[in-house]
Symmetry: D2
Subunit: 423 residues, 4 copies
């Protein structure tokens, strides 16, 4: 099984695709799931909440990508190819029991993969064929574990009880897709929820149990719209978008202070104006806020809105703020459940570490909070893995043995909770 | 007469008083005018337009100054001592003719006069007795010419025709008083209007005829009101007035560009906060705009308001903008009248220069525009004078011979226009 | 004894004096210590390190204060009255043993005390007689405990072993005095060091043992020196200190981000310019940095210096940065010692809380780090006290029973460590 | 001749090319001049001063453009195709006389021409074939006049005296090419110099004689180089180029004030950062300064350098400032010569206007100043032309009758000065 799992991971590594354009990826996951005999597979618009989709590319961009290749499928791929990517599969054992949810992210990053001879995917021929995307964060591994977990559940359906919902989420990078899918009507009423990430600073063999330290974060795209004018001849007729953007940038970066823990603001990108001698009529910022908690992050988002509005007023401009991505922190971590699973995994021989600190944002927290709120139990793992280069690096590569470890962690949880889960 | 004129100037130099606190100055002018036999002398609230008074000090400040000395007068000084300073005197020859208006400013500057032995007022004992004020811009000279012009008119009343209105205006510095007095009901329907300034870069003996280049200007006081908080322990509870003031200052200083001529903005004073470790709850700016024309200045005032409002919104603050002073440029200079007067003065032996450039602001322009609009003819002179130090310098001192020159210019204008004025 | 202790505290409350001007306070402490028969009393320049004195007022200010009263003493007070305040007393039992150090801060705050009838010091007649200072942080209590601890040591000298150094430190507020005194040659080689603060959020009766959470902090005074010019007539000749100060303020406030814990910058005060129509030739900022550790605070100080230098260069100005105060965090807390003392105090019936979080800065940390580095054991207590109003409030007043509690804590520590201290 | 002149203009309109890539344009001008029998034709590196070339595109860009077409020529085009564009032709009558210089700019703008049916070049089939360039400022007209002036000089060589230098300058837009060519050794010692621009607000038939109001201007490209870091996880390791660029932009825009006349600064373009969650490691500004005179412009360039340097220091960055273009104002306009030529043209029936105000920048001023300094006489004309849309507009089109007018103006000047020029 380990060999097949690695083959599957390498297949998906080759067809890496970025957020909302995981066309080949989604279609192949469906094919793989259908080949396992799973009938209840949902995809397309119906698994999304249109109003909660963040950071979707323009229709032009989606269309251009779609037209760059041919895909055959014996099911309707229309909505997928319109950008409604991702898959939710449900396996019902038809026996009373708990509902288990698993979330696997499937998107790659918009970077070009390393072609160095020391980079294993290149050397061994499974480098990304897409020059505009690379699995540099291990999501190819995550989704492959998901497919093999589905396989194992199907093979053991007789022995198992309850229902199993496998969520293949698009657009985790940039926190684009989690909110939309987490609000999907296809994933309500989960008793036990599981998420996981490969790598994240833990070595191969180590399993982080009950990850903490997820930062609440909001990604904002800001546009200032002014009025162009010849800067020398008619300066008073211009409405200067560059000045507003610079004023906003400087003042935004002063906001990151809060008594309730870590607070961050970054304006990573600024673009304004087209001609040296014209007063700029348009400028944009790409920014993010982060906070140790919702409260801190919400404060920063609110204050950012005030700074942006004020900057627009300073130069008599129109402005627009769009959420390009978002993730919460974990509201109420279920430490009791973490302890229970940690004991289980130790018993089963795993080398665990409790509650490792994520120090970053993940929209898996939408699922975790939702499940916890409804009285379920949610947990996130880190599947330690020796890395060749850091996450998001063009030479990122993880230890493929991690795939089996991860799969086994999920199996053991299912087996244990089938037996010991609270009714 | 020259000796008396100099004596009078020195008397007023000694009792220098700043804007809206020209108490001794106003009362002594009234006494002087009454001693000439002038009956129609107006002062106090009735010569002002309450809503158009700019830059008035607090009542506390006025009261404190008033209580620092005793003043005897056989007329009612109550309103003068409440800050309604200035005098308007009217001399009616009771013969048909034109109405002549003359404006003299009477305020000193809030600086301490030089006590250097090389400074003539100190050496000869007529230095300002008021440590908080000094006549460093020649207004002591202006008002003394006014008193002696009144004397000459009274002495020549039989020979003259028409009416003579002599306006002793408070608060020219900072453009505080001109607007209020110019709208006074006591100075309507002037046919010929005259203003003048001593010095201004011209040497003794030179007379500038028909001054141009007055800059429209507005003086604004800006206050930002936020909320204090411990900067380290509870930063999110503060509303930072210092940051808003700094943002406003920087962005205000970017505005001074206009295709229609000179545009200037200066934030000369910034004050914010009281404690190093507290988020500042209040900050203020003292600023000014200047423009080659009303249009330019009005544009700058409007844009300043937007920048200030935007800065307040950036930090979620309240704010207030108060006009502390204002003066227009000349709307329509009457060059034909300037030419006529220039010819006259040349004929009478004066060494004239036509239309010198003022390069500064003067609220005498309120009077000039008003008279011109109503079809009268208004003119402003510069009475050249060798200066010991520049205007506003603590060692400023002008050549006292200038007083006679100035007085004679006015006399010749009256005599000429009594004869040649259009009916 | 409790009554005398309260009397003493009230005496010092009445003569409240701010940093570096604790003239009456210092002289009275010396008198009190001499009256106990202590011979080894040091004061004046020799107990300071001139180069490490922060935030000293101008000589003019010190002189003016000194001249406002007469003080008689039968010892040389000259240097004290020049601003070298504070006292170090040493009591040597002449028996082998440990060296104990105690630090008491003696300065008041530069605020005017409440004259409300509900304010006990006013009602009972021991309100500060100095309109420019008030003991609003309990240092009157600290120093009174110090005097009575000296009294007890002298009375029990026969029973005790080792040496006792009592440090009466000037200028704790603003972190002015700790560095200078901590480097004094008079306080080397301490085996056991004790500091304490009254109040700080703990109720009467509670004793905080082994305070943590001291923030490293630096207080900076920044001056920009430019060149004045008429803002409208000759703008190019000005070097605009207001613009540099605003640029510095905005950019400084963007710096407070660090991965190693809390980071803060606040520019609490900005003052620039004198005349609305002049380009400002001078502006100043009063700012502070704070960090969870030296590393964070040092990073902020370094980055602040770069922003300030850059802002000066932007406007072609000279600038100056002066340290107005400074305190470190605790480098290596001696938790073992805290546990030992906590056990002791519990045994003796005190209601203790371990390692309370200070959440502020205190220059007592200079002493703590120094003692710890040399192998000694240092500890800081919080003597809980019900407060009428918060620290630094004009109606601050603590529960005087706290004085006895504090004194007893120190006595028990001495008795215990005389017996059990490591040799 | 008028028809041929129009044909020529349309030919060059079709092959529009931007600065330093006027490959087809340069080569065709050379061919045209050779076909007239002119022997002394210089081009390539030798007509330039390498160190004074501004705004040259990268070698990659030049190479890519060169490879996009084939050009045959029976002379060496190597250096032209490396970006050393432009031509200088000299016609020597071999008779004693004056040296006449004429400058024609040959570059197009980097914009795409309008394909509207109302746009004559599109309708009549001579629209630019280069999607990346369009003659939207009339330089196609200028250079065509130049070629036909050469033709006329060659045809009338026997009648004429002296030497004729025709300068076909690359890169006038952006002020790229004037400085380099004006310093060329091929154009020294000119007695009479002529430049001209079509349109510029004057109607067809009108000839502006002795253009004034050229603004001194400098175009600067600024790069800030910092250090990228994860904005949330390791903020202290970043060196934030976006913050420096915003600080520079805001502070630069405050500088445009000068007592000696119009002063402008515009930062038309800002680009910084690549990833929302990374501290930006690079940012750039495209800016320009303008001044009524060299003095004003030089002041702004100097002050800009200080603001940029200071901003880099604020964020501990490296920076680079490159001159991307530059032009002076006219140092000493030769009004006597303007009057002389104006009289001549009036006599010859032209409808002239004296000394029209250009209100923009032109690097022809380098030539004008140089000739004036050496005692020659330089003049610039505006050849009025009814425009379909303003300069730099994608639908710009001038009245082709202007070509003959312009050519005739030059001819009359030559004939007159052959006869009347000072020896």
């Amino acid at each position: 099984m380990e060999k097949d799992l690695i083959e599957t991971r390498r297949f998906y590594h080759k067809i890496a695709e970025p957020a909302w354009m995981e066309f080949k990826t989604t279609i192949n996951i469906i094919k793989d799931l259908r080949s396992l005999g799973i009938e209840n597979i949902s995809y397309g618009r119906k698994i999304h909440r249109e109003d909660l989709i963040f950071g979707r590319p323009s229709n032009e961009k989606i269309k251009a990508y779609k037209e760059s290749f041919d895909l055959e499928a014996d099911f309707d791929t229309k909505e997928i190819l319109e950008g409604y990517t991702g898959v939710i599969a449900e396996i019902d054992t038809q026996k009373p029991g708990k509902t288990f949810g698993f979330r696997f992210d499937i998107d790659a990053m918009p970077i070009r993969e390393s072609q160095s001879v020391t980079h294993k995917p290149f050397k061994e021929g499974f480098i990304s064929e897409n020059p505009f995307a690379m699995h540099a964060c291990g999501h190819d591994g995550h989704l492959s574990i998901g497919i093999f977990l589905a396989k194992w559940i199907m093979e053991n359906k007789e022995k198992l009880t309850g229902k199993y919902i496998l969520i293949f989420q698009p657009g985790e990078e940039g926190l684009h897709g989690g909110k939309s899918i987490s609000e999907s009507k296809y994933i309500q009423d989960i008793d036990y929820f599981f998420g996981a990430h490969i790598g994240m600073g833990l070595p191969s063999g180590k399993v982080g149990v009950g990850t903490t330290g997820f930062l609440a974060s909001t990604k904002l795209d800001v546009i200032f719209r002014g009025h162009a004018s010849h800067a020398s001849a008619l300066p008073e007729e211009g409405k200067n978008a560059n000045l507003a953007a610079a004023s906003a940038l400087l003042n935004l970066e002063t906001l990151a202070k809060h008594s309730k823990g870590m607070a961050r603001i970054n304006v990573g990108v600024i673009r304004g104006g087209t001609a040296r001698n014209a007063i700029s009529d348009e400028a944009m910022l790409k920014m993010e806020t982060r906070g140790a908690s919702h409260e801190v992050n919400d404060f920063l988002v609110k204050r950012s809105g005030e700074v942006i509005k004020g900057s627009a007023i300073q130069y008599d401009l129109d402005y627009e703020i769009k959420i390009a991505g978002q993730a919460p922190s974990i509201d109420q971590a279920n430490y009791k459940f973490y302890d229970e699973i940690d004991s289980l995994l130790k018993t089963k021989g795993f080398d665990t570490i409790k509650s490792p600190d994520f120090k970053a944002s993940e929209d898996v927290c939408y699922f975790i909070n939702k499940v916890n709120e409804k009285g379920g139990s949610a947990i996130h793992f880190i599947f330690g893995s020796d890395l060749k280069a850091g996450h998001h690096n063009t030479a990122f590569d993880f230890d493929e043995k991690t795939l089996t470890t991860g799969l086994n962690v999920f199996k053991e949880c299912i087996l244990y909770l089938n037996k010991n889960g609270k009714s």
